[in-house]
Amino acid sequence: MNISKAQLMSLYTTMVKIRLFEERVQDLYSRGLVPGLAHLYIGQEGVAAGVCANLLPGDYITSTHRGHGHVIAKGADLRYMMAELFGKATGYCKGKGGSMHIADIEMGILGANGIAGGGIPIAVGAALSSKMRRSGQVTVCFFGDGASNNGVFHEGLNLASVHKLPVVFVCENNFYGISVSQRQHQAIEDVSIRAIAYGMPGATVDGNDVLEVFEASAKAIQRARAGEGPTLLECKTYRWRGHHEGDPNQGRRYRTMEEIKAWMEKCPIRRLEEKILKGRVASKKTLEEVWDEVNREIDAAVQFATESPFPPPDAIYENVYA
């Protein structure tokens, strides 16, 4: 595969950033410092990191309720993210969106989304817009296996295909729509076979192998940028935590500890780490420094969030209309 040492390190750093950010949120949430809902991305880092590494700054993404990983990989500032999770005025959404609605239009982040599949038509529209403006931008649309059963999946993929839009549909199949297993919610194994129905290419990759994700998404994104139309890319992965942080015992009401442990063995970060060390891309010490550096960045983000003020009461009435 054609990938530079710098790119390998960048993929690694992005995944570490997502992992440590989410672990910190987990800790803060358990101590009651983060209000609301937190759907953590731990275990799925290979997908966001691998896909977004192929995007240009002007490209768009739409994300999901489990969106922290996507927006970090697209380049979001951890301070503003953390402040948003705290509900502070300095957050990405001035504290009015929270975990499920982080957006930065200038950075191409068209928003996480609280509605399963809600981002799919929006991504199609962003792709339509960039095609009409002849801007060369590509849109990546993240969603889960659960959302692939929603009507907007069909409507969005069909529309994108008819108009040959520059969009890549990335299905993160983590095998559960909240508590309902994939076996219970669809009669197919690979979501990607649905691509046939829309006359677009479909592929399934190991979402816990960041290099496989990187390679497959590079192809799909190039195809989109070349004006050849959309692709459905399925990345099989697994969330280590429950559906959200209020889901007791990491979701053991509907899955076994053995299953969770088996997937933890396939940790995308550890797998890349082994490759990096084996290929002598970096030393163990250098990798440790990556973790330390990211931890410092997260410390600073938590400090920023903690010290930031809550929005003033009048803010409730602001931004209803532009």
Partner: protein, 326 residues
């Protein structure tokens, strides 16, 4: 004085906006070759081509959602949902996405788009093609809701809607499409939140919307013969609502009837009645009355449908009820 139909006035607004601003484009079902179910977009495909007049699959959630995404990224889409009844299949895109994005994202990002659709019974189209539940959209903060009652307003308000940076639900009325009126050729706008007094009177205020404006004006002529002078106020936009003009009139007449084609329960009637009750109770000399559709689905059979549609006789009946308070 050049006259256009309501449908032609809307078409002219669309056309002029597309000429003025290359970001404006149209999406909807059968709006191209077919010209739209009510021929509003007839001829625009030939004029602007298939890239800007997009015939979509029957996928309301898909194309309305796509308009949201396009609007967020620099375009100004105008979508047509063939009947207001069909907005129910894309309600997530309207209520959870289009209406909330600006607020949810703390002011980051705008959704400058217009969703055109229509209300009104009377075509024998039964319960799924005849509803008037536009009040529902007024219930959703983040949306603007426009209700033009004549060709002049239709063009001017649509121009304003397309220029606005917020999502606008532009509610047309089927019975009005063929009505004619003076429409200037030049581009002009009508500000949102500015009601129009269609007829002045001293005895009863009738706040009427859409085709109910014409029905109220006819009723007013009848009542005038009996010496009752009715003031007819057309709010033109339901959100924002011109509270000032309505309240001023209610304070003058002391009596209020609200006439809107939606079902009366939780309709726009109730909202305007509440406004008067909250801010002009001391001036009211009679109970507020509502004229609207009954709380039933729209029936198919012509005699039943005729009963269903609120008309000038219903307004006159409301005036009769009020007579003892005059």
């Amino acid at each position: 004085m050049r006259e256009l139909t309501y449908a032609e006035a809307i078409r002219e607004a669309l056309s002029q906006n597309m000429e003025r601003d290359e970001r404006v484009f149209l999406m909807g079902e059968d709006i191209g070759k077919y010209g739209g179910i009510f021929q509003v977009t007839a001829g625009l495909l030939d004029k602007f081509g298939p890239e800007r007049v997009i015939d979509t699959p029957i996928s309301e959630a898909g194309f309305v959602g796509a308009a949201v995404g396009a609007a967020m990224t620099g375009m100004r889409p105008v979508v047509e949902v063939m009947f207001i009844d069909f907005t129910t299949v894309c309600m997530d895109m309207i209520v959870n996405q289009m209406a909330k994005i600006h607020y949810m994202f703390g002011g980051r990002g705008k959704v400058p788009m217009v969703l055109r659709t229509n209300i009104g019974a009377g075509r024998g189209a039964a319960a799924q093609h005849s509803q008037s539940f536009h009040a529902f959209f007024v219930h959703i903060p983040g949306l603007l809701v426009v209700a033009p009652s004549n060709p002049y307003d239709a063009k001017g308000l649509l121009n304003t809607a397309i220029a606005d940076d917020n999502p606008v639900i532009f509610v047309e009325h089927k019975k009005l499409y063929a009505t004619k009126g003076w429409v200037p050729e030049d581009y002009y706008t009508i500000p949102f939140g500015k009601a129009e007094i269609r007829r002045t009177g001293t005895d009863i205020t009738v706040v009427a919307t859409h085709e109910m404006v014409n029905r109220a004006l006819r009723a007013a002529e009848e009542c005038a013969k009996q010496g009752i002078e009715i003031e007819v106020i057309d709010p033109r936009t339901l959100r924002p609502l011109d509270q000032e003009t309505i309240l001023e009139s209610v304070k003058k007449t002391g009596r209020l009837i609200v006439a809107d084609e939606g079902p009366v329960t939780c309709g726009i009637h109730a909202e305007i009645a509440a406004l008067a009750a909250e801010k002009a109770i001391g001036y009211l000399q009679a109970p507020i009355l509502r004229v609207g559709s009954p709380d039933t689905p729209v029936p198919f059979s012509p005699p039943l449908e005729k009963i269903y549609i609120p008309d000038e006789e219903d307004i006159i009946a409301a005036v009769e009820t009020m007579r003892s308070y005059l």
